[in-house]
Amino acid sequence: MTRRQILFALPALATLAAAGGFYAMLSGMRRGSFDPRGVPSALVGRPVPGFELAPLPNWDKPGLSSRDILEAASLRPVLVNFWASWCVPCLVEHPQLMRLAAEGVPVFGINYHTGTQTDPGATAWLRRHGDPFARIGIDLSGRVAVDWGVYGVPETYLVDRRGIVRWRMAGPITSEILDEQLRPLLARFA
């Protein structure tokens, strides 16, 4: 191949490479495994931050502390889910959480609040859609969420049997993410 031919082929090859990259990005976005605005978690590989949260008022689940998480995680990996009733993607992932809870995976809930956004509809939401959580803590000041590095709801963390955070999903756990990412991890850390 002459130099001139190589020069002519170069733009075509660059276009093909870009098309491949865009295809991978778009299919990842559709399946939920790629988020262009996603931020990697600083907590993965580190122990669960210490906290203690009160229970949701007028709801029959106990509150949540880091000790509860470590105790349950010593038997099998557990999930910690930050959620709010006003959060539409939380509703998208809700059936997956219900399924995991029914299979016996401990799912702990933290009801997310920020300084400007409270969640008075939390109990009504749980009554209407079902409660997958073993325990629920209410994070009134948003302080526990900051300690976990949460920047939006839903966010879900997988804690292994040594109390180390192994995986974080920012955004809803779709059924694809459940099957392709979460189930293999639950099996690996079992």
Binding site: V39, T114, G115, T116, R143, G149, Y151, G152
Partner: protein, 154 residues
């Protein structure tokens, strides 16, 4: 005339607004003006992860508000600016810093402007050399001269 002046004043108002714009709620502010100024300076260094291209000092998001409060708590507790930024970076990673630190993972980011500049200079130099490299035609040899004479004689 008065109406005209009023209209002009109203038109000019939005351009004056940025100077006065402050998301920080007076209730959030620290009583000590020096500490408050430091908290504002730290807030401008930290990215709001909800809106991503605004600092927490500029953002109205709930998370930004919570982080502003935490920054003020740390400042009031006597932390240095670096300690406060380290506190937030430990939880949210380097991405939260609008001014990313120079280290292994960010070296490409910091070096890219220099690399692009070097590439551009190199390309210009090559082009310049090539232009200058078009040497004047060498003088005709004896043989060529004779051939030319023959051709012009015909």
């Amino acid at each position: 005339m008065r109406a005209l002046l009023l209209a002009l004043a109203l038109l000019a108002a939005p351009s004056l607004a940025p100077a006065a714009r402050a998301i920080v709620d007076p209730r959030e502010m620290l009583p000590d003006p020096d500490q408050e100024a430091r908290a504002r300076a730290i807030g401008r260094e930290l990215r709001c992860l909800v809106c991503q291209n605004q600092s927490i000092d500029d953002s109205n998001a709930g998370l930004a508000r919570d982080l502003r409060r935490i920054v003020r708590e740390r400042v009031a507790a006597g932390d240095t600016n670096e300690q406060v930024i380290a506190f937030v970076t430990e939880r949210y990673g380097d991405y939260v810093r609008l001014n990313p630190p120079l280290k292994g993972a960010t070296i490409a980011l910091w070096a890219s402007p220099a690399l692009v500049l070097a590439f551009g200079l190199l390309a210009m130099l090559r082009l310049y050399r090539r232009r200058r490299g078009i040497a004047p035609m060498p003088p005709l040899t004896e043989e060529e001269r004779a051939q030319l004479a023959r051709l012009t004689a015909e």
